[in-house]
């Protein structure tokens, strides 16, 4: 067992982990931040996407020990300081970008990573960026619409 420390959503977090402890388990089981979902646990679905040192990673495919000393951001840290939904989250609500909501934390974290690098993506760029995020409910169109809206662009997309 080793001790790890990292910053999670701006607060310092410390815990004891095994070599094999996944970052997703550390977040969910030790820190009780259960907003990060585990859908497949095989690196396919993207429900577990968080940011580590500013970039999107699948937390089910990274060891907690690898994140020692890192800055981690999860869905729990996305809302505005007053607790209201941030622009991306609000756009998902406004444009019906979720149904069951299981994929949503990963979708929002991937969208946040995309818009940080590319504030005005095209619809095609949004779809390509979401290749590693699987949604079994929405059929994706409303997710793409939400992300286009969050980037301040027209939400009328070709697929409608």
């Amino acid at each position: 067992m080793t001790q790890v420390s990292m910053t999670v959503n701006g607060k310092s977090a410390t815990g004891t982990v095994e070599g094999r402890t996944l970052l997703s388990s550390f977040l969910r089981d030790t820190l009780e931040l259960t907003g990060t979902h585990v859908g497949c646990d095989t690196s396919q679905c993207g429900a577990c996407v968080v940011h580590v040192n500013g970039v999107a990673v699948k937390s089910c495919t990274m060891l907690a020990a690898e994140a020692d000393g890192a800055e981690v951001a999860t869905i729990e840290g996305q809302a505005n300081a007053d607790g209201s939904l941030n622009v991306i989250q609000q756009a998902f609500q406004d444009h019906h970008g979720l149904q069951c909501g299981f994929c949503t934390p990963g979708m929002v974290m991937s969208a946040a990573a995309l818009l940080k690098d590319n504030p005005k993506p095209t619809e095609a760029e949004v779809r390509e960026y979401l290749e590693g995020n699987i949604c079994r409910c929405t059929g994706y169109h409303n997710i793409v619409k939400a992300i286009m809206a969050a980037s301040g662009q027209d939400v009328a997309i070709a697929a409608e």
Binding site: T2, V55, T61, M62, E66, E131
Partner: protein, 263 residues
Amino acid sequence: MYNFEFVKPATLADAVAALSGEDAQALGGGQTLIPTLKQRLNQPGTLVSLLSIPEMVGVCKTDDGALSVGGATTHATVSAEAAVDFPGLAGLASHIGDPAVRNRGTIGGSLANNDPAACYPAAALGTGATIVTNAREIAADDYFQGMFATALEEGEVITEVRFPVPEVSNYQKFVQPASRFALVGVFVAKYADGVRVAVTGASEEGVFRWSEAEAALSAIFSVDALAGLSVPADGMIGDLHGTPAYRAHLVAVMTRRAVAAAA
């Protein structure tokens, strides 16, 4: 996963020392190894992370004009940092898996694993790259030895991959939609002294050079030069995603597309 110890050395020398221990294994981005460990297909005693070794990370030009990529450089970094000097390589890296995979997965991990459907083997073989390890330099033509098989010895670490930069190059991948690996991928690179063509995803022998296409393209670098050329279906992979004949057909199609995109 079975449990293991995790160590994160800061120098190559410490990593090599740690890897000489019993049951120690290198950990790159973990994008292949962690899923393998979850299936209990492997039981290392110690995982030695290579991602905190500064001398193994980054992209730079060498004095003789080659592009050197550190063995622990992520796909995302290659796609950003090779874009100007070697756009064919950057383009390949920018289409591996998805963004989260590219933020972790490394070139050394990909080449060490040598998945028959992986992208980087096509670039390494298609450029005649040099695989540099802690112990020696291995020419790409000698490095790839069949599906998941390479010239690497136990505990040997890929520290750098040195690519001779082509005049023009392109990689075309026909994506297997579930895995996002290559159903067939072709890397074409044109040099002053000839053209190299490497094919991944297709053969039961792993990545290979298509010498007939190389000869035709070395004479005239155009899509027309490929007219009538095909690879035999014999020895191609057949699975639920495609028959050997389908893969053989795709090899010719992807090669034409790569030449059209590069020319």
